[in-house]
Structure formats: structure tokens, C-alpha cells
Amino acid sequence: MKARITITALVALLIFCAGYAALFIAPDEATMHAIQRIFYFHVASWNAMFCAFFVAFYASVAYLVTGKRKWDALGVSGVEVGVMCCTIGLITGPLWARPVWGIWWTWDAKLTSTFILWLLFIAYLLLRGLVEDPEKKASLSAVFAIFASLDIPLVYLANRLWRTQHPQPVIAGGQGSGLDPTMSKVLLLCLFAIFCVMILALMDRYRLELLRNEAAELRYEIESRGLDASDGQETRALQKGAQ
């Protein structure tokens, strides 16, 4: 418990330093000025998202191979945290694009693929909410996560092949090739900070899922022994809370 609080405090300090560095230490960008500073968190959230979804994919495969419930818990944690990072990226992107490109959104290959990725994993979370039986929930959502992960390269490839056949004037105004040395140091710090936040959220979510599983098992035990005759209402309330 004490270790967890220490780690959380350290990560909070780290993200504070990263925010300070991105806002005050990184040099001003020549054409975009202050708005460019969102880039440090935007890129970092994509990086964290890919790591989280990779964890989810790995955990889904591991669940189907071993059948151990802890892998299922890690899988759902990976997806939830990945969706969180994806949402941050999808919000910071248009915030930057509006002043720089002049539009909130363009159906470019990367943007479209990410949006579909987000939809796919939202569907994963919906699926989990709609299946009652825990065993079924775990195996079916693992199968879906693997299908969705296989689909991602195909989505990106299809959009790349398709959009490159059309002119896309807006995207060329994006980041230039070279980064200022201070900028890349700040970017590295932000990448690391957001990655740590992601890992922390992932670990907390994983622990929560394990506790929920344990609580569900205990409740099942109580019910199967017929011990809940007096406080059935409370049990139902607990069940509702756990879902």
C-alpha cells in the first residue's frame, strides 16, 4: 500500500515536470508557436496507447493459451487504458489541427485508422458489458481482441493505399523532419512520463479487476451455500456495483 502511494506520487511529480518542460523549457516553434506544445502530449499518448493495446493483445493470446483468469484481467485493463490514451490523442489532435490546418478533422489514413481502432476497442468494452457468464466473457472478448488487433494493420494499409491515390494538401503542413535538440529532450521526457502514467493506470486497473473477480467468486460461494437469505437485497446491490 505504502509502495503504491510512493509510486503514484513519483509519477505525479514526473508528469508535473513533463508539463513544465513542455510549456516553459521547450523552445518556441517558428510557425506554430504555443499551439505546437500540445505535440509533446499528443505524440506521447499515441506511444502509450500502442503499448497498452499491445499488452491487451498479448494478454488475450495468453488467456486463450493458458486459460488463467489473470490474463483476462490484464487484457481488459490494457484495452481500457489504451482507449483512455486513444481518447486523449483524439482530443488533442483536433485542438492542434484547428489553428494549424484550419480544420478540426481530415479523413487522412492515420486519423481514420485511429478512429476505427478506437471504435473497435469501444466495441470490445461493450461486448464485455453485455456477456453475463464470466468464462464466456473472458474467452469471447479475447477472441474479439485478437480479431481487432489483426484488423489494425489492414485498416491502416487500406487507408494508406486508398488515400494516397487522392491529393492530400493539408497533411504536408505537419511536423517538419528535424527537431531542435531541446525539443527532442522534452519530447523524450513527455514520452516517458505519459508511459509511466499509462503503466500506473494499467496496474491499478489490473488490481481492481482481480479484486472484482475475487469478490464475484466469494459472492457466488455465499449464494451457492444459501447464506444470503436475509440480505439478498444487499447482495444484489453489490452485484450491480461490481458490474
Binding site: 476505427i116 461486448l127 474467452s139 469471447l140 477472441v143 485478437i146 481487432a148 487507408n159 493505399l161
Partner: protein
Amino acid sequence: MTTARAAAIILAKELRLEFRTRELLTATVIFALVVVVLFSFAFDPTAAESRRYGPGLLWIAFLFAGSLMLNPSFAREQNNETLDALRMSPISNFAILLGKILANFIFMSLAELVLVPVFAVLYNLSLAGIVWRLILVLVLGTLGLTVTGTVFSAISAHARMRELLLPLLLLPLLTPLLIAAVESTASLFAEQPALDRTWLAFLAGFDIVFLTASWLLCDHLLAE
């Protein structure tokens, strides 16, 4: 019993079940027709505009119709728990899945057989000279749709609100297939019809990836 023979028996069962009533097939065709009619209000259906939007419209109609039609494939096994009976029979899980995929593929193809000529008439597009190439595109696209759709039908059959869940799972996953199918159909409806090999290869790749994944994962999909 070999997988092929077992799959053929499942296929025969599915076909017999459907052709007793033909409910599913009729409903699918009519639904797709409704979508096709509704799209005529979304743009001005002149010949030039139809060439631009037609292929996309056609495939979106197929995808919507498919995501509804594929739902009963496993859901109707739930009613009398007949899926357990299928699992108890001495055949592999992949044979069950394959039989259902083939059955859905046939239903979807039959629906398309009716819909494509009607669509061509309504939107003034000519099928002359492109029939065989179009059939190739339709077969590859429909195969991808039915493979993923049948697998997801097995997933959504265990969920609440399954009729709503299946399109939610299926349609985002099918976007690469949609792009590839629309682009290859569009190149056939162009002024100079041509078969786009890149997109055709992409469609075939999509089919292979998900057919392989279904084969590898079917034991977990249909597990007790």
C-alpha cells in the same frame, strides 16, 4: 469423419432449415433494397453521380444487410440449446463453423444475385462485359464478410442486445474490406472497366487472414 464431410452435413442442415421458410433470405433482400432506395435521396442519381457513389452504396447495403442476416446463424441455436448437441457430435468445432460460414456465404451470394441487377437498373449502370469480373469481386468480398460475420455471430449470440451488438463489432472491423471492395467495384463501373489487382489481392489477403484466425480460434469460440 473428415472436416470437409462434417462441414458439408452442417451446410446441408443450414440450407434445409432456411429453404423451408426462406424468411431470412427474403428479409435480407428487402432490407438491402430499402437501403438502396434510401440512398437515392442522399445524392442526385444521374449516371455520372451513380458511377461515383454507386459502388460504395452497393457495398454499404451489403454490409448492413449482412450484419443483420448473420445474427440468427448462431442465435437460433440458443433457443433449444442445439449448439450443445452439435458440440457433442463427433465432429470438430471448425467443421461446425465452416459449415455455417459456407451456408451464410450461399445466402449472401443469393441475395446479391438478386440485388446487383436491380441496383444496376435503378442506378443506370451497365453490367455488360463486366459480369465475370464483378462476380470475382463479389465472391472475395462476400467471403470476408461472412467469415468475420459468422465468427462474430457466435460471439454476440451469448450477449444481451445481440442484434445491436453484432453490427457494432462487425462494421468497424470490415472497413478495410469495404474500402477494397468499393474501390475494385468502382474500377469495374468506370468508363474503361478494369480489374484493380492491388485491391483484389487485398480482398484475398483479408479473407485469408480472418479464415486462418477463425480456424485457429474456433475451439475457444465454441468452447463450453
